[in-house]
Symmetry: D2
Subunit: 320 residues, 4 copies
């Protein structure tokens, strides 16, 4: 094991930060998210040998939500190459909300600013290989299975609720369609996008995903190369610049770890292996999964963000 901390130390941080859950609340737009226990906070950290430190409410499963955006981006880039994907979506951060049409209309007929805002994510999801929605979704599950070692499943209740309340996403998608940025039919593009958001994961699975991104696409436990280094790098750039909704800049400043959050309260984070110039390596790279369903107005787990900030400062995880 190569952890810089003991399970007890992590549990201490969990306890200290659990109080921050009262600063947020669960996402209210669909019942399945709203009824999550907002007092929960859990973490799994995985090292390059697959060992884990688990603490707090780690034995939970929840839906990927926006975390899926970075995964479909990686998947599509792996399949088609980065160049092809960047023809349809840019990689620039935007100060507007993740579901805003303003920047899009002002700069039209420009492509979406980046793959982590909804407009960009819908565009990317619609590029998933496959003729039908089922094909595309199967391929995305195949990719996730390669990442986490087991086939995740769709939370049908969440998907159905998402589908029925996706008015703003439909607005965005029809806007994209009108601008000739969406090759798929709008309802099909939404179906695949909302399905990917409704996939259930566990914290150890998130941690493994974070680990593989930290190791530039290679699973360090098995040595298997799952996606190219170039794709991993651009994924980390996006996680740093746009991964935490409209507080990505503050998260980069305070935490400094590539990460992507979702409104279910999950966060995947990638601590790349870093060594000092005296050749000692304070860490050899970790993947982190965090769950804290009380989210702030930006959509990020309140307690989860604070927990990551403290861990990063205490154990020097920042890439900056």
């Amino acid at each position: 094991m190569s952890f810089p901390f003991t399970e007890e130390q992590v549990t201490h941080y969990i306890k200290e930060n659990r109080s921050h859950t009262i600063l947020g609340q669960t996402a209210q737009y669909i019942p399945a998210l709203a009824r999550q226990d907002s007092s929960k906070l859990g973490i799994v950290v995985m090292d390059h040998q697959g060992e884990t430190v688990c603490s707090g409410d780690w034995d939970v499963s929840f839906t990927l939500q926006s975390i899926s955006k970075i995964l479909s981006f990686i998947s599509v880039c792996t399949y088609y190459g980065i160049e092809s994907v960047l023809e349809k979506v840019d990689v620039e951060p935007t100060g507007e909300a993740f579901n805003s049409i303003i920047p899009f209309e002002i700069h039209r007929p420009g492509k979406p600013f980046n793959p982590l805002i909804n407009a960009g994510a819908i565009t990317v999801s619609s590029m998933l290989p496959g003729e039908t929605i089922e094909d595309k979704f199967r391929l995305f599950l195949d990719f996730l299975e390669k990442l986490i070692g087991k086939r995740p499943h769709l939370d049908e209740e969440v998907y159905e609720s998402e589908w029925n309340t996706a008015h703003r996403n439909r607005a965005l998608a029809y806007y994209l369609k009108e601008s000739n940025l969406l090759e798929l039919e709008v309802e099909d593009a939404l179906a695949i996008y909302l399905k990917q958001c409704s996939i259930t994961v566990r914290l150890d699975e998130l941690a493994k995903i974070g680990l593989i991104i930290a190791y530039n696409g290679v699973n360090p436990i098995t040595g298997e190369k799952i996606f190219p280094k170039e794709v991993a790098r651009i994924a980390k750039v996006l996680m740093v610049t746009c991964g935490m909704y409209n507080s990505s800049g503050k998260f980069a400043a305070n935490v400094g770890i590539p990460a992507k959050s979702g409104v279910s309260g999950g966060i995947v984070a990638s601590v790349p292996p870093t060594c000092l110039d005296d050749h000692s390596c304070p860490n050899q790279g970790y993947g982190i999964g965090v769950y804290g369903p009380a989210i702030d107005s930006n959509g990020n787990s309140t307690a989860g963000t604070m927990l990551l900030s403290q861990l990063s400062k205490a154990y020097d995880f920042s890439i900056f």
Copy 2:
């Protein structure tokens, strides 16, 4: 010397990228910038012992322009602490242009998105310690002198031109004033901001600045600590997320080095020391100064950006 390349190799890259100068043109809004030789391209790379590799049109001096924004931010944070500065300016990237009033008006009375857009930079400059413009500017020169080892001077012609054409900046500054975000008088805030933009530097000086940022505020040649590690980190975050105007995301994806550009065609870049997990260190940290006055529509040196991209790829300089 610890360079991964020879001067000849760098000269080769200069030659290869000089053709990209024709894709841009010199900034046209003031004569002193417009009349720069748009075919120029030069670079100085400095290592942690103060050794340099100089190539192309490296023996030049030019004005800092927007590069000064990151320096005044570091200076003010060093003096007052990061917290005080972040009360007046946020650290979030924005997809709008560096001189846009749109995001500002939509989200008003919010503080400026970050210190590297003009609204944020004017706010930060106005915070420079000192009672008078002269005091504030002297203190900024003091700070630069500590960084580069000699006192830089103001290009009076550039300053006068900037002052006379600063209509958009005046609009921004009066907007800030109206929103109670500017404590100084507008004309005073503009004076100090435009003066800092009009300071002349040389490429080796830019490289040294980049080196000190890469070494988290310590001059590795002398061992002198010039600003706190925390300030250096947030500076690097801002350089990555917002340093290259509206192509910061693409620059992070393609180059991956914290950098800040100016419309004079200068770029300062900081390559932090990075080591692999086998304890070999491909680089021990560099500061880079680039000059290529032909800029693109975003305001970045066309050839300079390409040159940095090739060097980063060839010698693995990306932090991602």
Copy 3:
């Protein structure tokens, strides 16, 4: 007959303005509109006795398109009262395009600015009385039948094309739905809206509609009161302030007649009876229908607008 001009004089104006058709082109987004003969220009003017002056390409039929917006507004206001309608839609002009989401998102969760931009028109159409789309559409046809004396029909080809290309309108409607401004299901609201846009009319029918609006809701030929004076007045206000898309202000300044245009090239205009203070009445009120399918970038008939401008100046039709 009470016309201030002879048919020959009107024909002279038609000839003079036909050349302006080359300054525009037919709407290109659906085949049925695109293939209209862009060189056409026709007019019918109807007086309070039902007499008409017809000139140019007057013997045509075409779809109402945006002209229907003012008619569904009148219909819904007549049924529910103005107050109820103004709870859901404002009556303020906007400088943004008729299909823009920008003002809407900036000022959210505000209601649509007015019933003549698409967002407002969709909101109003969805209020048409009736349980089903069929009921609502039947009621709208009933209302038109009362206005023009015969039951108009739906152009099925146009409706189908509109339905299949209505991406931007779907975006708007889903945006409305998400803001709780649309009680109907989005697809139902769009169906009724697009059906009303696809109703076929002739120029004499448009002229009669204009006449009834000019006479404040009373058909002066029969004396029948079809809608309240208050509704007619607010309709004329909307026609003046927002009736001609983003050149409504210029049209009011140059022509000064309440009017509403559509992208099919039709314009309905209402010349209210006006008398001078010496008690002579230069006109006793007219309804005007114009058809000129070559439209400008704002969506208004190029030649039709010029024709109305000349007639208004020559015969003092302006209400200002």
Copy 4:
């Protein structure tokens, strides 16, 4: 006398509407406006023979503020012709606030939407004939003297306060300058604009101005023609479409009289002579001045607006 009402009747309306003053408050941005007595409400109506009905707090003087915008527009159009003025400013309403930069930046480098938003008004003021500020201001006073029969004076205290707090207007003016829409120096353009806003008037003078606009530029009392009919018409169009800030549409719908308000609480309104088709003339045209310094969030007198609405409905003053 040709009034449709007695002084007693008008006094009744004043009493009834005075309670609406508590729905607003005086403009707070400068002391001279803030300290006005917010409970005041007064009116002067003038007929074509110069007779007046005065009621409530009519014996007051106050500064023109935005009312001056329509007067400088009329003055400049009279001097240079409408065409020349419309090259620099459009006549389209905008849904954004009177001091917004948003529409301007989105549509840049477009000219200001209309002469009644601040950007347009500053542009128009800067066109006033004359070499110096003094010349321009003198010429504007000359024009006002022709309208009201005596030379009005500048309220120096108001002007000084306006000058010192005009941050937003300076922002707008520098924005205009940067877009090459302002020929004058910014500070000079602001001086003339703010001076015209700071001119003191009385209600009978406002009423006379309204009367002359209603009579298309002719003073009906003396028969003197002061400005062309075409200018009067476009002024009335602007008053209807943009005269009452962001509730111009609602004012047109509820009141239907061309009017212009200012944040001092003044409103000038023009009731054109209108006759019915039975040749009876319910009114022969009036000018109205209203004062009620308690303004709403849009900038319009709360009680003054209600008073005009009731009078318009009771005596059929609407042009629609």
